[in-house]
């Protein structure tokens, strides 16, 4: 009996998660270690290195972890060439869409687990370090006001996080795209992958700038597009205006889809072992 599409996707996804498992554990160990070390420093030393410093440092750890996930996504594609497992994948009667979608899902899962745990650790530690009144202040910043269900501040943060997530997913898709393009060449495929990745991002930011110039969003500040992982988040202290954010998300989703389908097309038609 033919298995359902979701069953096939699930099996592929499980396979990709298994491929990421060891690294994820290492990343978590790394995040835990740094957090424990900093927390220990803060709690024992008399220095001025307070909750704020801690927050900044462990935010860096979170970004560091996300950066590792991002770097790892390059090898999630290329390792299947190197360890010959592509011989298992390529003859399967499934299209490139399933193969790359499951990889994307696996990396996003890894992002949530590694990013989520390190973020949680930071929150927990900060909460323990902070004085009661500081916590009060943060709550005030996020608290319900002006009768709406969620405060506008919290709402903005959620929006920015959503945008950051979409940008990150898009970045991963561009990684897939450049890896596959790189693999179309037998020589220098690593270098080609890198160059294609940079060029794709430059191209995207140029297009964004052009459109931006034409549409001219006047409110809010510019946020870097698809630059660094979590690029959307890095400028998040200054909120974007809703139309601009909406445009950003729609634009990112559309270009991601384009990159995704080009990737699977190249994989099906051009890639060889």
């Amino acid at each position: 009996m033919e298995k359902s599409f979701s069953r096939k996707l699930w099996v592929m996804y499980k396979k990709d998660v298994m491929n990421l498992k060891t690294e994820s554990i290492f990343m978590l160990a790394f995040v835990l270690g740094i957090n424990a070390f900093v927390y220990y420093q803060v709690m024992t030393s008399e220095s001025t290195f307070g909750a704020g410093g801690y927050g900044i440092l462990s935010s860096m750890v979170v970004f560091g972890a996300l950066f590792l996930v991002f770097i790892r996504s390059f090898s999630l594609v290329s390792s299947e060439w190197k360890d010959n497992t592509l011989h298992m994948i390529m003859p399967l009667p499934i299209g490139g869409n399933t193969i790359f979608f499951s990889k994307l899902l696996a990396i996003l899962t890894q992002t949530f687990i590694v990013g989520g745990i390190s973020f949680g650790l930071t929150l927990g530690a900060v909460y323990m370090i902070l004085e009661l009144e500081d916590i009060q202040q943060i709550f005030n910043f996020l608290a319900m006001d002006s009768g709406s269900v969620l405060s506008s501040n919290l709402m903005e943060i959620v929006k920015m996080a959503g945008y950051g997530f979409v940008s990150f997913a898009s970045l991963i898709i561009i990684v897939f795209f450049s890896s596959v393009v790189g693999r179309m060449f037998t020589k220098l495929s690593g270098l080609i992958t890198f160059v294609v990745f940079i060029l794709s991002n430059v191209l995207l930011s140029q297009i964004t700038r052009l459109i931006d110039g034409a549409v001219n969003f006047d409110q809010g500040s510019r946020v870097m597009f698809l630059g660094e992982p979590g690029g959307g988040m890095s400028g998040s202290m200054a909120f974007m205006s809703t139309p601009e954010l909406l445009f950003g998300i729609v634009f990112t989703v559309l270009t991601s889809l384009m990159f995704f389908f080009t990737t699977t097309y190249l994989y099906e038609k051009k890639v060889e072992l």
Binding site: M1, R7, M18, N19, D83, P91, P93, T186, L273
Partner: protein, 234 residues
């Protein structure tokens, strides 16, 4: 049923296959024979859809190798293609998801016949056992087309016999087509129906093995020596 029509395959400047035209018959066991680098593996990879021809076309039942066609193909690569974390059981659960013709009974039976345990971690077992694991996955399906790329190379004599027995054991006459590449001709001498001899990307001799024996009074091994000049290239 598997047709190569003027197929040329180039890797950079080298021609792995040079204008090959051949029809591999349905319900036959066909041997693609020749020394290393003669193009045997390239032919298999073209059918398994791992490679694409530089020119010409490869057809199955007169059509291109579509997803529908790929459902009917079982491919056993020469290299080990398992993920490092896989146990035999994991590999089974992975493969069976994608093929309707997977047969659990056949799998269980073969597992015993090949003296494998499904909890074996594929990375840790011997070369012979890995070869048998690959065979297990390919033959636990009722696939119409089975592609075996050098299933005997580097394997001890007892395992070779097991492998050959597996091929014969559940062979469905007339329905199943097996294509096998090897340079161990002696081992498959009485297993193949048809032989295709390759040399530097070209077909130098092909035909029904029994007829070749009748006409030339030579074993395939001797025939091969004749074709390739005293076997020096082997």
């Amino acid at each position: 049923m598997i047709q190569f029509k003027n197929v040329t395959k180039k890797y950079g400047k080298t021609r792995a296959l040079d204008d090959i035209t051949v029809d591999i018959g349905k319900g036959k066991i066909t041997g693609l024979l020749g020394p290393n680098g003669s193009g045997k593996t390239t032919m298999i990879k073209l059918v398994a859809n791992l490679n694409k021809p530089s020119s010409g076309e490869v057809l199955i039942d007169r059509g291109p190798i579509s997803q529908e066609v790929k459902k009917r193909i079982a491919y056993l690569p020469e290299i080990d293609h398992f993920y490092s974390w896989m146990k035999i059981k994991d590999a089974k659960n992975f493969v069976k998801t994608f093929y309707e013709d997977w047969d659990d009974n056949m799998y269980e039976e073969l597992l015993g016949f090949l003296e494998l345990d499904e909890n074996m971690a594929i990375k840790k077992i011997s070369k012979g056992q890995r070869a048998k694991s690959k065979l297990l996955l390919a033959f636990s399906r009722k696939a119409d087309i089975i592609l075996l790329d050098e299933p005997l190379s580097g394997i001890d004599i007892f395992t070779r016999e097991k492998i050959i027995e597996t091929m014969i054991k559940d062979y469905r006459k007339g329905q199943q087509s097996i294509v096998i590449t090897t340079h161990e001709i002696k081992e498959i001498e009485h297993v193949i129906d048809d032989a295709v001899f390759l040399k530097q990307g070209k077909i130098v001799l092909q035909g029904q093995v029994e007829r070749l024996r009748e006409e030339k009074n030579l074993s395939l091994v001797d025939l091969m020596k004749e074709v390739y000049g005293n076997g020096k290239e082997l």
